[in-house]
């Protein structure tokens, strides 16, 4: 019986991992390609959740899954064009500061527009409830989220590994100088990378709005976990982030089972261990710029 419970927590952890993955993947891509630690990434997640509530009013939940990430992606274009672009070659501390400031501005802007009280947000009734598989209980909605995450990640993987766009981006992560010598400018690629990153964060907001609370600080709350995942996974590696996201989810689930008080601390302990034993992360690539 005990083992079934444990398995249940592991499976739940995997679902939770999918949630982290939506944010961490974009964060990792933007950092790997542009060298920018985007501290405002959580703001796009929050924006996604808020915009989604507006879109749902007019077009329904299904439409919001597509429309909201597109809207936030458009904002992402402006974000890259007018802000990030100025910092690719600058001292990293500058982009760190500017995105940190932007995160605060964004949070207060949400507070100004929608108020600081959490907004009621629900899911379509057909998603409510659970699916029992023998002794296993799954939330229907979370299974749906997991399916969406797998589709999105599959899409990003194909884009990175099966297209010429992806080849340039991956080469850019590894050897930007070499790419430049070949006469390829990385900058135009960054727009797409940023749009992909912030749109998937927004999708995270759309998906998690219904089961979390939609409130102005939600972006800040999620950032810590997203960073932990990126650090554990290692930079520049698609599978590293995926592995780390699921690992963090599972470790949290398992510690909740055995030592509930340590469940929040568990991911930091995991990060500590990984950094001690393997400073570049589980599957992190050796990146010249950061060595």
């Amino acid at each position: 019986m005990e083992i079934v419970y444990l398995l249940e927590q592991i499976v739940n952890g995997l679902v939770l991992g999918g949630y982290y993955l939506l944010l961490a993947m974009g964060l990792s891509l933007i950092f790997s390609v542009g060298g920018i630690v985007n501290l405002s990434h959580g703001a796009f997640y929050a924006l996604g959740a808020y915009l989604s509530l507006e879109v749902i009013k007019y077009a329904g939940f299904g439409a919001s899954l597509f429309i909201t990430p597109v809207l936030v992606g458009l904002i992402g274009i402006a974000f890259e064009r007018f802000l990030l672009r100025r910092f690719y070659t600058a001292d990293p501390i500058l982009s760190l500061l500017v995105t940190f400031g932007l995160a605060m501005v964004a949070e207060q802007a949400l507070r100004m527009i929608w108020g600081s009280a959490p907004l009621p947000s629900g899911m379509p009734p057909q998603f409510k409830g659970n699916v029992m598989l023998g002794e296993f209980m799954f939330s229907k909605y979370r299974l749906f989220i997991l399916a969406v995450v797998i589709c999105v990640m599959g899409g990003i993987w194909l884009l990175l590994h099966k297209t010429s766009f992806g080849r340039v981006v991956r080469a850019g992560i590894q050897k930007p100088d070499m790419v430049a010598v070949l006469g390829i400018r990385l900058q135009p690629y960054m727009v797409t990378v940023v749009v992909l990153g912030v749109a998937s964060a927004a999708l995270g907001g759309v998906l998690f709005g219904p089961i979390a609370i939609v409130h102005p600080a939600m972006g800040t709350e999620i950032m810590t976990v997203a960073f932990v995942v990126v650090v554990i996974g290692g930079l520049g590696s698609f599978w590293g982030v995926v592995l780390a996201a699921f690992l963090v989810g599972v470790v949290r689930g398992v510690t909740t089972h055995f030592a509930p008080a340590a469940s929040e601390a568990s991911m930091y302990i995991l990060m500590f261990l990984v950094l001690m034993l393997r400073p570049r992360g589980l599957l992190g690539e050796r990146i010249e710029r950061f060595e």
């Binding site: 949630y19 609370i213 409130h215 600080a217 929040e264």
Partner: protein, 423 residues
């Protein structure tokens, strides 16, 4: 100004200027000039330092709190102030217990406030109460509910307005027991890991023990936990008859939403749920029985007038934290008017005389002299049957006031034998 914005510091413009002037003066002239300024304070505005969380998991409640107290101050000032002096409210985000304490100290020393008010977080209220006692400044702890604050950690300079944890547990607990949720049942509790959560848990366990319920398990969760799926799975495995939550702030909202998401069928109740958090959970997700200190449907002219004014001013229905800040300011105003002074000792004497205050409820409230907590009515609430809500926020069904009209107001509060308060 758009009232939806919640500036970190709320000042009227000329007061702001005065503060700058003052800061400049201190910088330029040093301590020698501070003396004339002290003398000036007797004729200038009455400064009230107000600290409450405006960010974090209590931030949404803090916004209501600021709006409530601002409305009270504006009304007082519009009617000519107190003793011919205007009230100047300095309202700031208390952030966390450490920041709250240092801000309180600064307000006393540099801003020369006569009174400290506010708080929702029990942890921050405790540190402010300590600062107040050290500086012999009156502190009205308005929205913090922990029992220890008015028990073991009570002090002469702090008065407590909100209902304590014991009252919340008793108010909701008696309704639960009546419905047969407690006697002979297996109960699983979920507790926020800070002073308030632990206080709730202690009172809840005592209540269940008295009423023959068995607590079969407890999950203690950090205050920043937002995903309860792992806990939900664990609770389901234990198969309790009732899930009782001792959670603070918007954690309750998160929990009930995810509980509804998983479609679990064990009844959920709890001993803390602010109206704003109940609204945020939404009609479809909420169930169970909960306690509250006030609600906007109380049928007294006072409450109805307050709700109308608040709704007109801020374009939303007031939550219990808006009401409690409003009446707290009004109680202080009454004390200042009656004693014709802003002297801390005289105000304490007045409060300790168990003077009656109109707190917009059926019965008046008073501060119990030996532990400084406001004796007042509380209300259990639940959710209206489906289809009865007239609008999106209209799904809560409020019960009759407890204690009943014929019972003493002290009935649900911890008696002297159980309260460790020694002043």
């Amino acid at each position: 100004m758009d009232e939806k914005r919640s500036p970190k510091t709320v000042h009227s413009p000329d007061v702001q200027r005065r503060k700058w002037l003052k800061t400049g003066t201190i910088l330029a002239g040093g301590a020698a000039l501070a003396h004339p300024m002290l003398a000036m304070a007797q004729t200038g505005p009455i400064r009230v330092g107000h600290l409450t969380p405006m960010t974090g998991f209590l931030g949404a409640l803090g916004e209501y709190a600021v709006q409530g107290i601002k409305m009270a101050v504006e009304e007082i000032n519009a009617a000519g102030g107190l003793l011919g002096r205007q009230v100047d409210l300095i309202s700031e985000d208390s952030v966390n217990p450490q920041t709250a304490a240092s801000k309180a100290q600064r307000m006393i020393e540099r801003d020369k406030v006569e009174f400290l008010m506010g708080e929702i977080s029990s942890a921050s209220a405790l540190t402010i109460a300590q600062v107040a006692a050290r500086n012999k400044t009156l502190f009205m702890s308005i929205g913090a509910r922990s029992d220890t604050l008015r028990g073991k950690d009570c002090n002469r300079y702090t008065f407590h307005v909100d209902i304590p944890v014991t009252v919340m547990v008793n108010a909701a607990g008696e309704a639960l027991a009546r419905e047969g949720y407690v006697k002979g049942k297996k109960i699983y509790t979920l507790t926020s890991d800070y002073v308030f959560g632990h206080d709730l848990s202690k009172a809840a366990k005592a209540f269940f023990a008295r009423n023959n319920g068995t607590v079969i398990g407890e999950e203690v969760v950090p205050t920043d936990l937002t995903d309860f799926s792992a806990q939900l799975i664990k609770i389901r495995q234990a198969r309790p008859d009732l899930i009782a939550t001792n959670l603070g702030g918007n954690q309750v909202t998160n929990f009930v939403k995810q509980y509804a998401e998983f479609g679990m069928k064990f009844p959920v109740a709890g001993f803390n749920l602010n109206t704003a958090d109940a609204w945020a959970a939404g009609e479809d997700n909420l169930g169970g029985i909960w306690p509250t200190v006030w609600h906007h449907e109380i049928k007294t002219p006072g409450t109805q007038a307050f709700v109308q004014k608040f709704t007109k001013k801020y374009n939303r229905i007031p939550e219990n934290h808006a009401w409690i800040e409003y009446v707290s300011m009004m109680m202080l105003a009454q004390a200042i008017r009656e004693t014709k002074s802003v002297d801390t000792e005289r105000i304490i004497k007045y409060f300790e005389s168990e003077a009656q205050f109109d707190i917009l409820k059926l019965r008046k409230g008073y501060f119990r002299s030996w532990d400084h907590q406001l004796m007042q009515e509380a209300y259990p609430f639940t959710v209206k049957p489906k289809g009865q809500a007239k609008h999106k926020l209209d799904f809560l069904l409020f019960g009759e006031a407890v204690p009943g009209a014929t019972e003493p107001l002290e009935k649900l509060a911890p008696p002297r034998s159980e309260n460790l308060c020694k002043m």
